[in-house]
Symmetry: C2
C-alpha cells in the first residue's frame, strides 16, 4: 500500500510505503530532517508534528523524550513514527538542517599562483595528406617543440580536441599536468579550478582562475548527508546498519558537490567546460564516504583509514557529472580522525611554516588540535561533541535565522542578538558558549558548573536548575528559550575535551601555556565565538585575548592554495608525512587533563588581561 | 500514437511511434537487422516482410530494388517502411546479423608470459593502536620491503583492500602495474586478463591466466553495431547523420563487450573480480567509436585519427560494467585506416620480427596489406568492400547456417558445401570466391570477367548473364541461388583493390612478387578461402600455394601477446611507430595497378604450381 506524505511548511510531497518511518521517507524525499544519532532514537532532534492521518502509536522512548503537552499536539520522533495512511507532517525549523548560515571566507595567504595544471595556447599545423598525424600526436609534438616533455593526451581531452581544432583554425589551449594533457579548451579561455572544503556539516567551494589565482566565486552549503546522521559517527553507524547506506551517502554528497560546482560557475558566469581541476579536502570519514572507500574499519578501534595518501582521480570516478572528465586531487589524511581538512587548515593558516610557537584548533564535533614548536608538528583529535552546532542542547539549533548567537549579562540584565533579527527560536553554538561564559562571569556557575538559583531568571527544572534566557512573554513567538544545567555540562564536556587535547600536546612538546605565542582558531564556530567567554569557561589555555587569531575557514584557504600552487600541494603532502599524530584514546595524560579541564577556571578575564 | 511491432521468427516485441521506420524500431529493440549502408536505402540488405498491419506505401527506391512478385508478398526495405499501425514483421535469415560463424582461434606464438601486471601474495601486519598506517600505506610499505618501488594504490583497489585484509587474516594478492597497485584479490587467486579483437564484423575475446599465459576460454560474437551499418563507412555516416549516433554505437559495443567478458568468465568458471587488465585492439574507427572519440575527421579527407597513441584507461571510463575498475590498454593505431588490429596482426603473426620477405594481408571490408623487407615495414589500407562478408552480392550472406561456403565445378557439374548442412539460403564470402574461381577455371569467365552463356546453368539475366549455383528444384527450400555478372564484378573490384595495394607496396620496397618468401593471410575470411581459387581470380601475386600461410585470427593472438608480455606490448608500440604508412588515395601507382588488377589472370593453377 502506497501513501502520500506532505511535509510542511517546506511543501514537499513524498510517496511512502506502509510501515516506513517518517525519517526514512524524509531522507528519500530530500527533506533535510536533522538526525544527529543516525535514526537510532537517541538524540531527539528529528522532532516532527503529525497534523493529520494515521501513524503508529507513540513509543515508550518517545514518551520519555516528549513532554505530555507536546505529545498531545502530535509531536513525535520521525525515526520512531511509522506510516499507516496519508499524512500531513509539520517540520519545526529546529528540526530542519537547511537554511543555515555557512561560512566560506577565510583569511587569505599571499602565495604565488603556480598551479600543478599549466596551460599553453598553441597554434597547430592543419592535417594534410602529407601530414597524417593524429590530432593528439600533432598537439604533443607542438608542445614538445615548446620544451615540454608531454607524452600523453588524456582520453577526455582527445575526445574534445578535434572539434576545438577545426572550430578555431587549429588553435587550442592545452591544460597540462606533468606529462599529460588533461584538458583542451577553446583558445585563450583561462583554465579554471575548484577548491572544496568538505565538512561534516558545511561544504565550502571556491571557483578560481588558474592563470592568476583569483577567486571568481565562493559559495557555501550544508552537507546534505546531515539528513542521515548529524555527526561523523552517526553517519558511519548509518552505513554499518544499512546495506545500501554507503552508496546513499556517496550519492547525496556527489549530488551536492555537483550543485555547488554549478552554482559557482553560474555566480561567476563561467562555463563548467573550462574547469580543469578540483582539489577536495575533508575529514577522513567525509573523504572515505566521497571516494566510496569502506568505513567499517574507520568506525572501530584502532580506527584506521583505507587510504590516507593523496590521490588523483577523475570526477566521473565518483559519479560527479558537472565536469565528469576533470582531475580531482584529494589531499592526504594524517590519521583516522585527523583528515585532509586539518592538513589544509595547517597549510591555509600558515601554521606549518610558522617560526613562532603556535597552537591551532579547528573546532567542530571533532576538534583537531595542532601544536607547532620548532620543527615539530603535533596533532590530535578530540571528541568535543556537537554542542558547537547547537546539538545536544535543549533549545540548541544550528546557526540559522532565529538563532541567538550572542548573549550579554550584567547583574540581572540579559541581552542577546538573534541571526537575521527575527524572534528567537533557539540558541546556536556561539550563543551557548556566550551564555555559559556570562553565567560564569556573573557568578551563577560554580567551578563544577553547578547553577545557583539566586537570579530572577534562574529556576529549578525537572532535571536540575535552569536559566531562562528568553521568557515566553518576551520572545514574540510564545517560545521560551532556556539554558539547563545539562546544557552547561555539554559545554563543559566539549571544552574539556579540546582543552585536554591541547594540554597533552603541550606536555608532549615539553612547553607550558605561557610559551604559546599564538592560538589560531579556525572554522565557522571558531570565527563567531567571543574569545573572552571561551576563556571564562576554560576552553583555551589562559592567554591574553590578543594572542588569539580567528582566521575563518582556513581549511578552505588551504584547499585553494593546493589548487593554485604546486609547491603548496607538495607542502600538504609534507604536512601529512611529518605531522606526529598523538592518539588520545587510552592515554592516561588525557584522562587526567580532561578531569581538570571540565572545571570552570577562576579567571577574571576583564581585569587580568 | 504508440504501436506494437512483432518481429518473427525471432519473437521480439517492440513498441513504436507513428512514423518511425522499421529499421529504427528494430535497432532500438535489439533486433539484429542488417543495414550495410547505415539505413540510407542503398544496400537493400534490410529486407523484411510485412505480414499484417498498415505500413507506409512502397517507395520508388523500393520498387527498383524489390522484384514485383516479392513486393506483392509484402517484402519491403526496413529503412524505408514507416509504422502506421501495429505490425507483424517477418525477418528472413539473410537479413539477420546474428547466429553467424565467428572465428576466434589463431595460430599461437611461443612467448614467455611476463605481463605488464605483476602479482604478489603478501602477508601484512594487522593494524594496532601502535601502528595506525592506512591499509593502503601498509600494503605499499610491505611491497617496498620486497623491493618494489610501489608508491600508489588505485582508488578501486583501495576500496576493496580493507574487506579482503580482514576476511583473509591480512593476506592479499596485489596486482601491480609499474608503480601502481591496480587491483587486490583474495590471497592466491591468480589474476586474469582479457584480450579482445574488436572487428567491424566480428569480435573475439580471450580470458587468460596472467600467471602463466594460458588461455582459459575463447569466445566470438558478431559486432552488434552491424545493425547500424555493416561496414566502417556506413557507421561513420550513421554517426554523422544522427545526433545521438556516436553514443548509440558506443553503447551497443560496450554492452556487447560486457556480455563477451561475462561469457568468457562463465565458460572458464572464473570470477570477474579476478580480472585485472584487458587489452583491446580494433581498427581506427572501432577504436574511436569505443572510446567516444569524434569520428567526423576520420570519415573525411585527409582521414586523420583523433588519437593514435596507445592509451590506458579504466573500464568504467567507457561505461563497461562487467569489471568497471580494471585497466584497459588500447594498442596504438598506425593511421586513419590502419588500426591497432593490424598492429596486433603484425605482432601475432610474427611478421614484424620475420627475417624473410613477408607480405601480410588482413582481409575484410578494408584490407590492410603489410610488407616486411629487411628493416622496413610498409603498410597500406585498401577499400576492398564487403564482398568477403557476402554483402553487395545478390544472394550473398554472412558465414552462418545455410550459407554456401565451398563450391566445386568440373565441366557441367556443380557441387557445394553448406554451413551446418542445412538447405542453402545464400552464399558467403569464401563460397563466392570459390564460385568465381571455379567459373574462371571451367572457362566461363573472360579476362575481363564477362560471363559466357555456354553452360546449362548459365542464362541471360535482367542485368547481364547469370549463373545458377542452386536451382530452385534442388535447394530443398524453393530458394534459387544465383551468381550474377555484377557479383563477379564485386569480386573483381575487391580483389583488384587488395592486389593493387600489394603491388604498390612491392614497388615502394623495390621488390618483385617472386622475392616474396611468404604471404600470410589473416582473419576469418582469409582462413576459410581456398588459396587456389584466390590465385585463379588474381587476388594475390602468383606464387606457389605452399608459400601461403593462413594463420587465422592473428590480431586476436597479437592482443593476447600484448596482454601477457610487457615486451610484446612494447613491440606493438614499436610497430606503430616504425611502420611506414603508404597512402594509396591519389597515388598514380595505385590507379595503374588497380586497372590491371581487376582483370582475371591467365593462370593454370593446377599445372603451374
Amino acid at each position: 500500500m502506497m501513501y502520500t506524505i506532505d511535509f510542511e511548511p517546506i511543501g514537499r510531497r513524498v510517496t511512502a510505503q506502509e510501515g516506513e518511518t517518517i525519517l526514512q521517507v524524509a531522507q528519500r524525499g530530500g527533506v533535510g530532517l536533522a538526525a544527529v544519532c543516525g535514526g537510532t532514537g537517541t538524540c531527539g532532534r528529528c522532532l516532527i508534528q503529525v497534523m493529520s492521518g494515521r501513524a503508529s502509536p507513540i513509543t515508550e522512548n518517545e514518551r520519555k523524550r516528549i513532554k505530555p503537552d507536546r505529545a498531545a499536539q502530535g509531536f513525535r520522533l520521525a525515526c520512531e513514527t511509522r506510516v499507516h495512511s496519508d499524512l500531513k507532517i509539520n517540520v519545526p525549523p529546529s528540526s530542519l538542517t537547511t537554511a543555515q548560515r555557512t561560512q566560506v571566507e577565510g583569511r587569505e595567504l599571499d602565495v604565488r599562483c603556480d598551479p600543478v595544471v599549466h596551460s599553453y595556447d598553441v597554434q597547430l599545423d592543419p592535417a594534410t595528406r602529407q601530414d597524417l598525424r593524429s590530432d593528439a600526436a600533432r598537439l604533443c609534438d607542438r608542445l614538445q617543440e615548446q620544451g615540454l616533455g608531454c607524452l600523453r593526451v588524456d582520453l577526455s581531452a582527445a575526445q574534445r580536441l578535434p572539434g576545438i581544432l577545426r572550430a578555431h583554425d587549429w588553435q587550442v589551449t592545452a591544460a597540462v599536468i606533468r606529462d599529460k594533457v588533461v584538458a583542451v579548451l577553446p583558445p585563450r579561455n583561462p583554465p579554471l579550478g575548484i577548491a572544496v572544503d568538505l565538512g561534516s556539516t558545511k561544504v565550502a567551494g571556491y571557483l578560481v582562475d588558474l592563470t592568476n589565482g583569483e577567486t571568481l566565486a565562493a559559495h557555501g552549503m550544508m552537507n546534505p548527508q546531515i539528513a542521515y546522521g548529524e555527526d561523523v559517527m552517526a553517519r558511519l553507524t548509518y552505513v554499518l546498519q544499512n546495506a545500501d547506506g554507503a552508496r546513499q551517502l556517496q550519492a547525496v554528497i556527489v549530488a551536492g558537490l555537483d550543485k555547488l560546482a554549478r552554482t559557482l560557475c553560474q555566480k561567476a558566469d563561467q562555463s563548467s567546460e573550462d574547469v580543469v581541476e578540483a582539489v577536495i579536502v575533508g575529514n577522513t570519514a567525509m573523504h572515505h564516504l566521497l571516494l566510496g572507500l569502506p568505513t567499517q574499519q574507520l568506525g572501530a578501534a584502532p580506527y584506521v583509514a583505507a587510504l590516507s595518501e593523496p590521490c588523483d582521480l577523475m570526477a566521473r570516478d565518483v559519479g560527479l557529472t558537472f565536469a565528469p572528465d576533470i582531475f580531482i586531487h584529494i589531499l592526504p589524511n594524517i590519521a583516522g580522525f585527523v583528515g585532509a581538512d586539518h592538513v589544509a587548515m595547517l597549510l591555509g593558516s600558515g601554521i606549518y611554516k610558522a617560526q613562532d610557537v603556535v597552537m591551532g584548533l579547528d573546532i567542530g564535533t571533532n576538534t583537531e588540535v595542532a601544536l607547532k614548536v620548532g620543527d615539530r608538528l603535533l596533532t590530535c583529535s578530540t571528541a568535543s561533541g556537537p554542542a558547537s552546532e547547537g546539538a545536544h542542547i535543549r533549545d540548541g539549533m544550528r546557526a540559522g535565522p532565529g538563532a541567538i548567537e550572542r548573549v550579554w549579562m550584567k547583574d540581572q540584565q540579559v541581552a542577546y542578538q538573534v541571526i537575521d533579527d527575527v524572534p528567537p527560536v533557539g540558541i546556536c553554538g556561539s550563543g551557548i558558549l556566550d551564555a555559559v561564559g556570562q553565567l560564569r562571569k556573573i557568578g551563577l556557575l560554580s567551578d563544577l558548573g553547578a547553577m545557583a538559583l539566586d537570579h530572577p531568571r534562574a529556576r529549578p527544572g525537572e532535571r536540575g536548575p535552569e536559566f531562562v534566557l528568553v521568557p515566553r512573554y518576551e520572545s514574540g513567538n510564545e517560545h521560551e528559550i532556556v539554558l539547563t544545567r545539562e546544557d552547561v555540562s555539554e559545554i563543559q564536556l566539549a571544552k574539556g575535551a579540546m582543552r585536554a587535547g591541547a594540554e597533552v600536546l603541550m606536555q608532549e612538546a615539553g612547553i607550558a601555556a605561557g610559551d604559546l605565542d599564538r592560538i589560531v582558531i579556525a572554522g565557522a564556530f571558531g570565527s563567531y565565538i567571543d574569545v573572552r567567554n571561551a576563556l571564562r569557561v576554560g576552553m583555551f589555555p589562559p592567554l591574553p585575548p590578543e594572542r588569539f587569531d580567528q582566521v575563518g575557514n582556513a581549511a578552505g584557504v588551504g584547499a585553494k592554495l593546493a589548487l593554485i600552487s604546486a609547491e603548496q600541494r607538495a607542502l600538504a603532502q609534507e604536512i601529512a608525512t611529518n605531522a606526529e599524530y598523538v592518539e588520545l584514546t587510552n592515554d592516561p595524560r588525557f584522562t587526567l587533563a580532561f578531569t581538570e579541564a571540565i572545571l570552570m577556571p577562576s579567571l577574571d578575564v576583564d581585569s587580568i588581561f
